[in-house]
């Protein structure tokens, strides 16, 4: 116990201080602030997404204690978790719901960042790393969905990988590698499992670290209005004010997950049978519905291209523009800014309507 004049009551802290430069860290932490204002509510969604990711890692690791990832055993092991393992139903349903909430939250986060124009200099790389994180989360959703090996998942994966195969030139080889063969079979499952629990988590950790690092280095983006009206500037210290509020929100989110798990438990479905015909009305998960619906509306051919190829091309172009928005709207002209904002709103409305149509179709 090293007590000293500086730390009469905190021997542990003194021990650490003697060895590591935490003083600097403490200084930085004390000065970290978060803007307050009308848009401040949106600042929580990045943190909520991060929290949900922690939940996913935790419940995911727990599920791995019982999940058996091969075609003969996957379904039965998930049934075992849901029916026999104590609180297995809770862990599984929380995992399923948190996945949905996390993607929903990341979309809110991304769009709120967009409409606050926080992508502008100096935060271009934060924006790009965020897009990579979005893509990884969608990858998590797609790969995880197959793991229970039920009928819906099997056919949704078939349709989803079919769409990947439409990409010209590289699409088919990618589809072949993803599927582990020509068709979705028992060989597909181990690959998706490896992606879901190893590759994607590793990449996500790296890119999340980068994303958060950039934010710590540059501080949180402040509303544009403050540039013109500095007197409106009001901030809140991150520790402990914002942190406590965030913690509260995290706790409430956890409870929401528990309520969803109890009242809307994850379905087991019917075990996948590669030889049975596809049931009617196969749909992907809600976050892929807009793409799915969009492709359905394409005509059979557009010029020399297949309708689906054309649809994918449009989506890819749109995605590319979205990635490049920090360079399109640099904040130098009001006209460009307005166009970009209106386009963004249009895209949001478009995606929402397509998703809704996908549900009711």
């Amino acid at each position: 116990m090293s007590t000293s004049p500086e730390n009469p009551e905190r021997p542990l802290l003194a021990w650490v201080r003697d060895r590591y430069p935490i003083a600097q860290f403490a200084e930085w932490a004390k000065h970290k602030t978060v803007p307050i204002g009308p848009g401040a509510f949106w600042y929580y969604f990045g943190g909520i997404t991060l929290f949900l990711f922690f939940i996913q890692v935790g419940t995911g690791i727990l599920l791995m204690f019982y999940y058996k990832g091969s075609a003969d055993t996957a379904f039965e092991s998930v049934r075992f978790i849901s029916a026999k393992v104590p609180f297995g139903w809770l862990i599984r349903s929380v995992h399923a719901w948190a996945a949905n909430l996390m993607i929903f939250s990341v979309f809110i986060h991304m769009f709120s960042v967009f409409f606050m124009r926080a992508y502008r200099k100096p935060r271009e790389l934060t924006w790009l790393s965020g897009i990579v994180l979005l893509a990884l989360l969608l990858g998590f959703g797609f790969s995880g969905y197959l793991l229970p090996w039920n009928e819906l998942a099997f056919f949704a994966t078939k349709v989803g990988t079919d769409i990947i195969g439409v990409i010209p030139v590289i699409g088919e080889p990618i589809m072949y590698v993803l599927r582990g063969g020509e068709e979705v079979t028992g060989s597909t499952l181990p690959r998706f499992f490896a992606l879901h629990v190893a590759l994607f988590p590793a990449l996500l950790t790296i890119f999340t670290a980068a994303h958060l690092f950039f934010i710590q280095l540059q501080g949180i983006h402040e509303p544009d209005a403050w540039k013109a009206h500095p007197e409106q500037r009001k901030t809140m210290p991150f520790f402990p004010h914002f942190f406590m509020r965030e913690l509260l929100l995290w706790l409430i989110t956890l409870n929401i997950l528990a309520v969803l798990a109890v009242f809307f438990p994850a379905e087991l479905g019917v075990e996948a049978d590669p030889f049975s015909p596809a049931p009617a009305g196969i749909k992907p998960e809600w976050y892929f519905l807009s793409t799915f619906e969009f492709l359905k509306y394409m005509p059979a051919h557009v010029g020399p291209m297949e309708g689906e190829e054309f649809g994918l091309l449009i989506i890819s172009l749109g995605f590319l523009l979205w990635c490049l928005v920090p360079w399109i709207d640099r904040g130098r002209g009001r006209a460009m800014t307005t166009i970009v904002m209106v386009t963004g709103m249009a895209i949001l409305i478009f995606l929402t309507i397509l998703t809704y149509l996908g549900f009711v179709a």
Binding site: F65, S70, S77, F87
Partner: protein
């Protein structure tokens, strides 16, 4: 000035106590989850169906393979064969007839030989075969690879 019931202490105790209680309500399910349940998963990839010492030659018994009924037969020559016990005619559960050295379905007198081939009566197809592995005294049955 430190009073026993000043607001700050009460608040901190309350906060600490409710955190502790709430954490307990989270950790308890996690700990229960980690401890494996007494009944193991219905093994469907490999099931211990019988023991060498427990089955005489020219006998058969029904066992559960996953959720399906299955039949293991020890042939007169001592070797084991195993099949899913669902008759291919109308899904009745078959049984071993040591008097005939055949597998028999009581519903409509269908017979299968010890290769599972349908040899007499209405069954249109052979029985679904399973693989048998003997390890020491234990006889394991797995899906056909």
């Amino acid at each position: 000035m430190k009073r026993l019931f000043d607001r700050r202490r009460v608040l901190n105790w309350f906060l600490g106590g409710s955190t502790f209680a709430w954490l307990g309500s989270v950790i308890y399910p996690l700990l229960r989850f980690l401890s494996p349940p007494p009944e193991q998963e219905a093994a469907i990839s490999s099931v211990k169906a019988a023991t060498l010492s427990g089955m005489a030659p020219n006998s058969g018994q029904i066992f559960k393979f996953g959720r399906k009924p299955a039949l293991i037969v020890r042939r007169p020559d001592g070797e084991f064969v195993a099949f899913l016990a669902k008759c291919t005619h109308l899904d009745c559960v078959v049984q071993y007839r040591s008097d005939k050295e055949r597998i028999w379905c009581a519903c409509h007198d269908g017979f299968y030989d010890l290769n599972g081939t349908n040899v007499s009566g209405p069954p249109p197809r052979p029985l679904d075969a399973l693989e048998v592995h003997v390890q020491g005294d234990d006889v394991y049955v797995t899906r056909k690879s």
